[in-house]
Amino acid sequence: MDITFDHVSFTYQAGTPFAGDGLKDISTTIKGGDYTAIIGHTGSGKSTLLQHLNALLKPTSGTVTIGDREITPETNNKNLKPLRQKVGMVFQFAENQLFEQTVERDIAFGPMNFGVPEKDAKALAAQMVKLVGLPDDILQQSPFDLSGGQMRRVAIAGVLAMQPEILVLDEPTAGLDPAGRLEMMTMFKKLHDEQGLTIVLVTHQMDDVADYADRVLVMEHGALVRQGTPREIFADPDWLRQKQLGLPKTTAFAERLQKLGFTFDQMPLTASELADDLMPQIGGGDRG
């Protein structure tokens, strides 16, 4: 299932003196099966864009096509449920949305809301708990007795229980410690690789973009200013700095090495790529 933006603009509080630009003339396609990263400085319109992915916001002009559903400024709010089921949203600090007495009931809430019978919803809960790497016996516990990282996993399991085709993640690792961050990112990669989920990730972590994404959208002041593969985007460090965006650690370190006299045919994105590039330049491999 693809999501296509065709000249989409969005104005906050349109028609009032407080009107402000949210999105400006966005045209792009998020392809089904891709892992897309959205980057941009705070306030660049990333979250506004996300809210168009399941019609939480409707464009002020232009068309968003989500699968076979067209969303235009005239679309009414009825019958959006099937769409919301297909596009699962994990907001920042998703654990704040937990509310039920047990983990099982919290995860089953979404599917039951979409008409799944209780028995099936509970079976889904058991399945999803496994998928996010939590033990079975957590199902009967209160979500509020869990650690922050576990709570976030439960919240994500609740979104996955609706069996979406697209998983939208807004800074899903914010506030977790580095080990928790790595576990979480590995889990999303597995969901993408093994379950075939389409992933849309908003992040400030350029290393995550380099490690996981197939495509990158760069936002600034509500406009989509560049799109491409991570390699294309990170090939232009000066431009990224202008946009107040960083580089993956490897790319930044390779830049430093370039100044010393090392050469790279294309900027490396990961430590192992850089190690490969360095081998012939430091006499590695033929020294025994």
Binding site: T42, F262, A275
Partner: protein, 278 residues
């Protein structure tokens, strides 16, 4: 004043917990130093911070802050010396304007109005937010909000500032902004800084790193001493420093760089030496 913080055999347990959150914690922070406190989630870092300013009372052991043993009698004096900046900037605002918010702590301490106005102004200048004095805190960016929270602390002229993951909810630019600000303030106002953090770059700038693991002090050392633990750091609550990651990738290909911790500059130089002697 030689030592800002002197903690001896501190033990603390939360009610109904099966094991103590802090157990036999001892360390001394000389005045004016910057310490990074690291440890995985749940290792006791924030509990330690709350024991230092008396938000929690130790089960046993002693806490001495700015030369004063922490007791019921001294707790208010000690809180005047220790300012804490918390993780979520949205949770710490009370004032309707930036200036009101900065003044709040001073009002609580019944500082005379004339002096209060001067101190609020000076604090806002110190964090470079003087142009925002009449703005509404809710409308600021994350980095700006943390600046205002820090101004509220600076206005009270503390000796010690504790950052409890104060940059973890900010974007990379906001994070740098706050760290640079604390570095500046520390020099201008000779502050002691205790920074609870998962951010490797923040820890790298500290004089000492204290590693907490399951409520106990596992190690105290310079950043270089702690960082040479390499991949084990991930389990201890920090990222693996980038030079260690690259060294591992090279080692897998049969190239062994010098043992011990190298920072990025050191590693770049070592690689260049190999290149030059090819």
């Amino acid at each position: 004043m030689a030592n800002a913080i002197d903690i001896s055999h501190l033990k603390y347990s939360y009610p109904e917990a099966t094991k103590p959150a802090l157990n036999d914690v001892s360390f001394v922070v000389p005045a004016g130093e910057w310490w990074a406190i690291i440890g995985h989630n749940g290792s006791g870092k924030s509990t330690l911070a709350k024991n230092i300013n008396g938000l929690l009372a130790p089960e046993s052991g002693s806490v001495t802050v700015a030369g004063m043993p922490l007791t019921e009698q001294t707790v208010w004096d000690i809180r005047a010396k220790v300012g804490i900046v918390f993780q979520n900037p949205d949770n710490q605002f009370v004032g309707a304007t930036v200036a009101d918010d900065v003044a709040f702590g001073l009002e609580n301490r019944a500082v005379p109005r004339d002096e209060m106005l001067t101190r609020v102004h000076d604090a806002l200048v110190a964090v470079n937010m003087q142009d925002f004095a009449t703005r509404e805190p809710a409308r600021l960016s994350g980095g700006q909000k943390q600046r205002v929270a820090i101004a509220g602390i600076v206005a009270q002229r503390p000796d010690i500032i504790i950052l409890d993951e104060a940059t973890s909810m900010l974007d990379p630019a906001g994070r740098l902004e706050i760290i640079d600000l604390i570095k500046q303030l520390r020099q201008q106002q000779s502050l002691t800084v205790l920074s609870i953090t998962h951010d490797i770059d923040e820890a790298a700038g500290a004089d000492h790193v204290l590693l907490l693991d399951d409520g106990q002090v596992k190690e105290i050392g310079t950043p270089a001493e702690i960082f040479q633990h390499g991949e084990a750091l991930l389990q201890l609550g920090l990222d693996v420093p980038y030079p260690e990651k690259l060294k591992n990738a090279l080692a897998k290909r049969g190239v062994h760089m010098p043992a011990g911790y190298l920072d990025e500059e050191g590693l770049a130089k070592a690689l260049w030496t190999l290149h030059s002697t090819m």
